[in-house]
């Protein structure tokens, strides 16, 4: 479904990704973790072409992301993304946040798009909030709307960029529950996260990054019980500490 081969990226003279290679199979849930500044968010944003790369190859759903001939917008239409800071459109109601892309990109009729919106809101536990504006919702509710917005495009995979990092602790679980439910339904997911509980219980694999490098890429059970590298051990000691 998603395959990266020797991907490297520089910001000016600074190398932020070093020869990253990984693959995600259909239906797999992969959690990417690592200290801040390790390149996790950059890595996930290369998968739908939001961050260009200078070297390597990325193939998503059989399409080469960095081939100039690729219609990147068409690819993004069926690869969802959820952002750390939600990025709902503040000037639109929840309904229009969710229905905008289905109407403009998939050319669905308003009636059809709005009907699906109601169903999606129900799925993320926000029935009856369609007419509200993002500012009227809590962080956890906003993030669930953002998940519904990406689901509205019937995505083949969803990329989550630190989906719970901007949330107050009491709202983290409501978002993780929706994500767990999605994983249970067989959604292909790549999740940049520090939520080790989620990684342990839901992820098939954990990828550990440090300084732009993929240091470990292993089944989640193995990763938590016996991390192979010192760097991963130190990281786990810090995040599992409390």
């Amino acid at each position: 479904m998603i395959a990266l081969q020797n991907v490297s990226k520089w910001y000016g003279p600074t190398q932020v990704l070093r020869e990253c290679t990984l693959s995600v199979a259909r239906g797999e849930v992969v959690v990417v973790c690592g200290p801040s500044g390790s390149g996790k968010s950059t890595l996930i944003k290369t998968m739908n072409g939001l961050e260009p790369i200078q070297h390597g190859e990325i193939v998503v759903d059989g399409v080469k992301v960095n081939d100039p001939k690729t219609d990147i917008c068409a690819l993004r239409a069926h690869i969802g993304m959820v952002f750390q800071s939600f990025e709902l459109y503040p000037h639109m109601s929840v309904r229009n946040n969710i229905a905008l892309a289905p109407i403009k990109v998939l050319r669905r009729s308003e009636t059809e798009a709005y009907k699906r919106t109601e169903a999606l809101l129900k799925r993320v536990g926000l029935e009856g909030h369609a007419d509200k504006y993002p500012a009227q919702l809590s962080g956890g509710q906003q993030q669930r709307v953002a998940i519904a917005r990406s689901l509205a495009m019937d995505p083949k995979a969803i990329l989550f960029d630190e989906p719970t990092s901007a949330l107050d602790p009491e709202m983290i679980n409501e978002v993780l529950e929706v994500m767990t439910q999605l994983a249970g339904e067989g959604m292909t997911m790549v999740v940049v996260s520090h939520e080790m509980g989620f990684a342990k219980s839901v992820a098939n694999r954990v990828i550990f990054m440090d300084a732009g490098e993929i240091v470990e890429d292993r089944p989640s059970g193995e990763f938590f019980s016996a991390p192979q590298t010192d760097r991963a051990q130190q990281f786990l000691a810090k995040v599992l500490h409390h």
Binding site: C73, R76, F83, S85, L88, L100, V105
Partner: protein, 217 residues
């Protein structure tokens, strides 16, 4: 000294036609300057170095010279360039548009840049094309942020139109000067002139502040 404001009533038609020209100058130069400013703002945000440098040089040039100089400049320069006289109104309008376009472009550019970059990324991530992201997501938010700035600058343009005095156009200011000199009622006429500019500018600024408060809610 006693004040006698009857001169205002006597000269009313002249004042009215002066204000007519002032408002005409205002509306036409606003339309032109906002259109030019939008184009310049888009150019400044362009990834193409030559395009953005051209736009920023333009803006810096016009923001660093006095408007009155620009008005003279276009008054004398355009006829030389095109080989025939164009009249004071056209040259003054062109000067106002070219000059104020630089200021409007800065307001529009900062409005677009005030929209968080993540909004652009979020739109792109759903498969929307960049143009559509700009239209449906970025510009509507940018416009809200711009309204107070656009109104404030429009008030400045309203006052700046009085500078067409130097090329002899009969706007409100020039009319005032003429009536004051002709009637000898200098104090009354200039008091009336000041009050008129004050009421209109202050009224507009109250509206601007009201809108700003409403939009910030």
């Amino acid at each position: 000294m006693t004040l006698d404001f009857s001169i205002i009533l006597e000269a009313w038609p002249a004042f009215l036609s002066g204000m007519g020209l002032t408002l005409k100058l205002l509306v036409l130069s606003l339309i032109g300057a906002i259109a030019l400013g939008t184009g310049l703002a888009a150019m400044r945000l362009s990834p193409n170095w030559f395009v953005s440098t051209f736009a920023s040089s333009y803006v810096n040039l016009f923001r660093t010279v006095p408007l009155i100089m620009a008005i003279f400049w276009f008054y004398f320069l355009i006829p030389l360039l095109i080989g025939r006289p164009v009249g004071a109104l056209t040259s003054a309008l062109v000067a106002l548009i070219f000059f104020e376009g630089a200021f409007f472009s800065e307001i529009i550019r900062s409005g677009i840049q005030a929209v968080p970059r993540g909004q652009f990324a979020a739109g792109l991530a759903t498969g929307l094309r960049p143009r559509m992201v700009m239209q449906s997501i970025v510009l509507p938010q940018a416009f809200r942020a711009m309204i107070p700035g656009l109104l404030t600058q429009s008030i400045i343009v309203f006052q700046a139109t009085s500078l067409v005095y130097v090329v002899g156009l009969s706007d409100f200011m020039t009319t005032t000067v003429r009536i004051a000199n002709g009637s000898g009622r200098i104090v009354e006429v200039y008091l009336f002139c000041a009050a008129t500019y004050f009421v209109l500018s202050y009224g507009a600024s109250v509206v601007a502040r009201y809108l700003e408060r409403r939009l910030n809610r």
